[in-house]
Amino acid sequence: MNEQLKKAYNNCKPEEWLDWDDERYVPLSDKNLRGCDGDIVGLLQDAIAFADGPTHLLFSGFRGSGKTTELLRLKHYLEKSGYTVVYVDTEEYLNLNVPATITDMWISIAAGFDSFLKKEKYIDDKRSFWKRLNTFLQSEIIIEGITIKAWNVAELQLGIKENLQFREKLNKAIAEKMPKLVKECYNFLDESIATIKENNNEKKETILILDSFEKLQGDSKNEKDVRNSIETIFIRHWKLLRTPCHAVYTVPPWVSFTEDAHDLGRTWMLPMCKVFNMDGTRHTDGINAMLQLLEKRMDVHGIFGNGRQLEKLAELSGGYPRDLLRMVREVILRNARIGHLPIPGGKLEADIARVTDIFTETFDHGLDGDDIPLLCKVANDHSLSGWPGEDKFRLVRLFNKHFVLSYQNGGKWLDIHPLLRNTPSMKAALAQCGRERTLPGGEKP
């Protein structure tokens, strides 16, 4: 096994997210490659700093786009600026495959604060949120068939996350008491913030970052209910979600494209790195930035020669870092036993062509013929304005599959993934509507 390749291969693992100070980090936002507004972390910081009172922001981005890394950067810079940041991962407390309610959100937030306070040893179990919630439920709620009194705190915690039947019954029983429960959670937060301030007098305010909520999605049976639940939380009950501290909530990308989203204020979107312009021409800076991602992880020239051939992969990734890393890994794997580096040009070209075919085939297999007209529309319009509601919601599934990617040049715009564009079905469909594009490498289809 070639050791250099082995190292490069393991430096490109798609499941690894980077910590804010990882040496492999490339500040794509700085380079205006993710929108020309500047560094998104800086913008969020400013939005918090300039707010007159607690501000509540929505943050979104695709899986693997670097969202968590940016949030961790935000956390770091906020803490450096003197804030206390409570980072909550919703996945720890909620099952994200079923519709959520405002109650679920509040319980997650309060539970997150609870964990933070316990970790910092600011509170003990007697003052724990779960104990408080248990008491509230016992006194206020009767759930048919379930005796809350018999549950201990640990069971309650587990039950809310993993026992869907219990959670459903709880939400139903709580519905009338919801404002009271929200108030209970709000009060817990208020007290927690006071406790934090007591223990950290020199600190500024407390900020909540609620991550992973954008992963909420259902299956073919309940996806509509899930979507409705997200709209309910962030539109109908948005005012009920206003915590007594600054908060950044992550939401699914499609929220930022709904018409009602303007009521929420701006949704801060982490788009893909721009490798093509809206008119289909290459965006050289973006491609170079994607190559820089690779250079931070391996000796690109030592392994691939002058690296120009990798530009094709950068283009085909659509600016989605995980796809680029995966494709490069595949090329490395095909040369794992090579004796001498760099990989000979002819072989590299053949391997890249083969990997392109394999990845294109994966998109082709996942492509439903019924989605093709919608995808053509995305390729033509690059936006959702004027689209009927049902079409917008079908787009949700396409976002989840990464068939549609989002970019930003001042305004947001959309495009279909270049690998999807490369599939025979999409090529044929786009040719019919006259929107074929010159393929990576300059050749026309």
Binding site: Y9, P14, R63, Q217
Partner: protein
């Protein structure tokens, strides 16, 4: 004694490439990695798991859902993730599954959802690779139901079906990839693929329709192995229609090849050739040089069997040029081996030996030990036939050493069987019997039942008090596997002769043979001849009982000789009585008739 590993199952050229990449990925990767390893054929996935375990790069955590309810996949994965002790060292957890379509889908869906939710825990708990092995539809399920898990996948490895497409080893075993190595699986495989395909019927999604086409192709191959060419051809036609709908020329070419093979094995050579020609045109159109080379090989083989040697050689030469063009050393070596075999049959021994030597050199070059063993084996056979037994035995022994080196039990058995033949030629009957028995035991252990039946037939043809017991075992196998008609007739007539026409066992044998000729032989060009020969055996038995031709039909009715279930069940009992405790393989490994 530990059972020897059976002959490695050839995964097909692209399957072997995939396995090689998978091995490298497991060797090169560090820490947690998620791989999807997919294929329609349970045998293929089983082979992959076996090789990983054999090569000591797999861990000891393996969920084989074959013996579990697929609905329990989620529960079992959860249990694994919650285990107090995380898997140590380099561990590979595979959740391979086989089962009926509806439960399989539900099981995989819930399993993937669990893994999706628990992926952070998985990444922490699992210090090395996780392989999820199942049918290709789990990829679509993962994309839609487990998007976070899908998003962190390292790689996807797709294995083609066992008999799909173009094998670069058409030599000696041109239809080898259609022989079952594990009969119980082959028996199930037809229904298994058909179930999967049926569940996708009516789907509008392109991905699922193409998946259905691939499954129909696999069902077709499995049906044919069951001796059911009619259903096989029907399934192939349905698959072909789907590929044509999507303009999938590669898929269509594979189907045409499969259909051509069936027609050629049935003796309808003209029709087979038409289909192969069409396949060639498609391969030309899509630039599939390797496919074209393999199709030419298949055509050449059949033409050679028909005696059209000149044309066969022409096609082989053309195939050789193509394999040279794409640097397919393996393919070239296989073609030379095949050509040599035909030349040897024609008596052109010198030329045959020359080509075999050339094939040996190429196989040496690429480290194809199994191929080398096979070529040495063939060369030895020809030398033995020429009377040069001493030289033949030398080459066979060399071949045996290579078989042992790679654990090729089936190859070893074939060599032993041939050495047995050579001993028989020299009049060494005891040595012949011993070598054949050794060969039979090995073939039984690795479930190579077609070859086993042949060796048992050879043992049965010899003398000795246990000859009938061995022949009985060949016939017992014939109740379950579609033996070639000529072989079945030969064993039956030998059995009847040895047993005596007046014996009940002989009568049942004749009746069973007639059923099989009517059923399995019915779509073949020689159907009428086979049936006539089988009927002749029955008439002999009737004559021995003084049953006149006019009374034959009524007598058959009275004796229930028209009732196939009765006849086969009774015949099986008679055979088992005769075999006693002289089994050379384990009959318990078979499902009930």
């Amino acid at each position: 004694m530990e059972a020897e590993r059976g002959t490695p199952l050839f995964l097909g050229k692209s399957g072997e490439e995939q396995f090689s990449l998978l091995q490298d990925a497991l060797a090169i990767g560090q820490g947690f990695e998620l791989f999807f390893v997919c294929g329609n054929s349970p045998n293929i996935l089983k082979e992959v798991v076996g090789r990983l375990q054999y090569s000591h790069i797999s861990g000891d955590t393996h969920l084989d859902m074959f013996y579990e309810d697929p609905k329990d996949l989620a529960r079992l994965l959860e249990h694994l993730l919650r285990a107090e002790k995380p898997p140590k060292g380099r561990n590979i957890i595979t959740a391979r599954s086989e089962g009926r379509e509806a439960e399989l889908r539900a099981g995989w869906t819930s399993g993937l959802v669990v893994l999706n939710e628990q992926r952070n825990r998985l990444i922490k708990a699992c210090p090395s690779a996780l392989l999820l092995m199942g049918p290709p539809h789990i990829l679509l399920t993962a994309q839609s139901r487990a998007p976070d898990l899908w998003s962190v996948r390292a790689s996807v490895f797709l294995f083609p079906d066992i008999a799909e497409g173009m094998s670069p080893f058409p030599a000696r075993n041109v239809f080898r990839d259609m022989e079952p190595d594990a009969l119980p699986h082959a028996l199930k495989e037809g229904e298994y693929y058909q179930d999967l395909a049926d569940a996708l019927e009516g789907s509008g999604s392109k991905a699922e329709r193409l998946s259905r086409a691939r499954l129909l192709g696999s069902a077709a191959r499995a049906w044919f192995l069951r001796g059911n060419p009619r259903d096989a051809l029907l399934a192939f036609e349905k698959a072909r229609a789907i590929y044509e709908d999507y303009g999938d020329l590669n898929g269509k070419a594979g189907i045409l090849n499969g259909q051509a093979r069936i027609y050629s094995m049935q003796g309808d050579i003209a029709r087979a050739m038409v289909l192969w020609e069409e396949s060639l045109r498609l391969e030309e159109q899509i630039g599939d040089v390797q496919g074209k080379a393999a199709t030419l090989n298949n055509m050449a083989w059949v033409l050679a069997q028909q005696g059209d040697i000149a044309r066969a050689m022409g096609l082989w030469e053309e195939s050789l040029k193509l394999t040279e063009k794409i640097g397919d050393v393996q393919g070239k070596a296989a073609t030379l081996h095949q050509m040599a075999g035909v030349l040897a049959d024609q008596g052109d021994i010198a030329r045959a030996m020359g080509l075999w030597e050339e094939s040996l050199k190429l196989k040496e070059q690429i480290g194809d030990v199994q191929g080398k063993a096979a070529t040495l084996h063939q060369m030895a056979g020809v030398l033995a036939q020429q009377g040069d037994i001493a030289r033949a035995v030398c080459l066979w022994e060399e071949s045996l050493k290579l078989n042992e080196q790679i654990g090729d039990v089936k190859g070893k058995a074939a060599t032993l069987a041939n050495m047995a033949w050579a001993e028989g030629k020299n009049g060494n009957r005891n040595k012949e019997r011993d070598l054949n028995i050794q060969a039979a035991r090995l073939l039984g252990a690795c479930k190579a039942f077609f070859d086993l039946a042949t060796v048992l037939g050879n043992l049965g043809a010899g003398g000795g008090e246990d000859a009938a017991a061995f022949l009985g075992q060949a016939l017992w196998l014939g109740l379950r596997i579609p033996l070639p008609a000529e072989n079945a007739l030969l064993y039956s007539s030998t059995f009847i002769k040895k047993t005596g026409v007046a014996h009940r066992a002989a009568l049942l044998c004749a009746a069973a043979t007639l059923f099989f000729m009517q059923q399995r032989g019915k779509d073949t060009p020689k159907a009428a001849e086979y049936e006539k020969n089988a009927f002749a055996l029955l008439r002999q038995c009737a004559k021995a009982r003084n049953i006149s031709p006019e009374r034959l039909e009524i007598w058959m009715e009275e004796e229930r000789l028209n009732d196939s279930s009765y006849v086969i069940s009774e015949f099986k009992k008679e055979l088992e009585k005769r075999i006693g405790d002289r089994w050379l393989f384990d009959p318990a490994g078979f499902p009930p008739l």
